[in-house]
Amino acid sequence: MSSREDTLVLLLAGGVGTRLNILVKTRAKPAVPFAGLYRIIDFSLSNVMNSGMKHVGVLTQYKPLSLMRHLATGEAWDFTGRSRGVKILPPSTGFRDSDWYKGTADAIRQNLNFVRAHPSKEILILSGDHIYQMDLDAMIEFHRQKNADITIGMMVVPESQIHQFGAGITNDEGRIVEWEEKPKVARTNLASMGIYVFNYEYLMQLLTEDKEIVDFGMHLVPKAISRDSVFAYPFEGYWRDVGTIQAYWEANMDLLKDDPEISPEAWGIRPNLESEQLLADRIPARLAAGSKVKRSMISAGCVIEGEVVNSVLSPGVIVGPGCSIRDSIILHDCIIEEGATVDLAIMDKRARIGKGAVIGSGDNKNIPNSKYPGHLYTGITLIGKEADIPPGTVIGRNCIINPWCKQNCFTDNAVQDGATI
């Protein structure tokens, strides 16, 4: 039983995140690893935990397996106990109105049974896609003070980026008077973060009375601002949608700056250490004699014999003697054998780089990937999960090596800039 005074949290974790390319081949975007130990969704879940909310529904749709494993009982975020809980809400068939989720509002509508079972004062809707720290309780407080029907978390972004967001124009008291979803011409720099507080009854009524409402930003908010009380809750601080390879890489690199704006530990972000990679079984990172590590984050279980500069390493990465790793993100249990070079790359789990191979060779960072020029255009090369790069192979810039590419996928010992294997 939840108390009427509580806030029910619904976390939208169904995003495909296509632009993350091969990183989302086997997992949903919220399950993409980040900052060595974490997954993207840990930031939202930990914000919820630290804000004292006790009931969470996680709406999944796309490749939910690794997400489900990761959430497990929710114990990592203190969601177990008599009055606490986290539930996975996948799409289901067999009922009238049930289908794949057609949009954010539709996803909530299809789970009204869950919502009815958890009567509360407000419903807080979050996305599991973003890297940020936020006191959500303060936002609820704001919502109550304004006596709002809807409160939307919003932040100032450069006008050049506003076309990616829901954009709002507010009056002096913070009420949203105009709304444009992904506007082509910027009239404001106030962008929606995809965080909504609704009064419980208000949302229930809107979703049941108007079946045309499928998406919050596209349908619900424009309809609501004309007749109801919709407020913008201003957020200042670090917030990133790491939905592109470039943004994902940059946010990881932000961790390494002096006085970084982003610090998962200081933010109180918790990973689930008991899930599949079993951090619980990892010993401290071993930095051998002769290793050289600068400006990097190194997780437990890594063994470093070579050089690592400006990089983020997840648990269990092995860097052999004479290797050089620069400006890269290397996920769990990758092996980089003796004398190999990895420059400006993202390596998914358990990939292996053979002896003396070079990943990210040459200076042609501006030759985009030929298959996905919109995804890779700044020089970052992607190495897929469990890919096995033969010794001595030289791979250029903006390349994609697909997951599970074994040594026999490589007919040549050179992969040109922008190529995909």
């Binding site: 900052a35 990592a76 390494l256 010993i283 401290p284 930095l287 400006r295 984050m297 997780s299």
Partner: protein, 419 residues
Amino acid sequence: MKLKPRTLAMILAGGRVDDLTVLTFHRPKSAVPFGGFTRVIDFPLSNLMNSGLDRVAILSQYRSYSLINHIGIGEAWDMIGRYRGISILPPYIGYGHSQWYRGSSDAVYQNLDFVEYINPEQLLILSGDHIYRMDYRELINYHREKDADLTMACIKVPRREAHRFGLADIDDEDGETGGRVVRYREKPDNPEYNWASLTVFCFKPEVLYQVLESNIKEDASYEFGRDIIPRMMNENRRVFGYKFRGYWGYTRTIEEYWQTNMDLLGPDPKIKFADWGVRTNLEHRGIRDCQPLKIGDNARISDSLIYNGCIIEGDVERSILFPGTRVEKGAKVKDSVLFFKNVVGKEAMLDKVISDVNTTFGRGVRINTEGKPGPKEASVIGWNNFIKANTIIGSGCTVYPSLPSEKIPKQVESGEVIR
């Protein structure tokens, strides 16, 4: 079908071990941190987990809080379930009974009702104080094969050190595996044989019950090594020795404790830590809230083990750093073991220092950096201390826990104890 556990393991974790000085002022030896993230007791507990033995009791008496906190519900070692669990058994008062544990065997004796309730086929009694990896199933299988009353694990030690141990003379009945114990002496002055007991005992419960009863009635001392085993030898019980040949860290002195930590390092470490499958409770001291180790531009790190949650901007060489420790710019840490949440200030230099939890070394502090090259004694700093800037502390010094910082002089000579 095996549902109920056939083996009950009891871990003796009550001891303080005086030679570890300030490290055991606030915790039993078994709860002393080791190896950058674990506690000593994690080794027997993980051995049990990896041996598939999951009904465990811990006998604890001295300063149990740290230990109880560490064990939690036993989930870290997968010991929760219908027949799986860790019970902590502290001393208690009862009707007509109120007694501290008067020795290791008395601790078991006072909990015989618990043992009888579990009713195991064999009782495995372990020390919680040692660093080693063993598959106890091999010992138990040997014990069953020999239909032994007691099988004890032993390791060959150098003659000159043998007087510190309980020693068994094992015949060659089963060659490399083990044999009958034909003689046994507890810590003899002049050892004649050198298979040292590891405090890993597998008992036939009915026999142990009888021996404990007569020990309580007839003796004034209640220790397994000193009393129970000699009594069994006298009674001509079937006592066997199981020959263990792996690594064993006794860690009863500061030097041994330090050396065992150092055995985790080097190009070919004696302890293959990653292969040992040691687990710890990551909830304890908030280890699970730590982000990955962060290394700055000026850091130089060599041959070290460093856990998540550390921030390194200075030099670290041949050292072991627990979560939350910070080494600032220009600082140098060498041959040291720094527990949780130490701060080594700018230009501070530590050489062969063991420092307990929450200690801060101010700017320019130097500990154990003077003197001739070659082996030197470790200096040990108790927890919750603040060592003021530019303080110089010598070799083999001890600083008591939680001292007001003005009690620590600017200059501490080698061998001094600051209390």
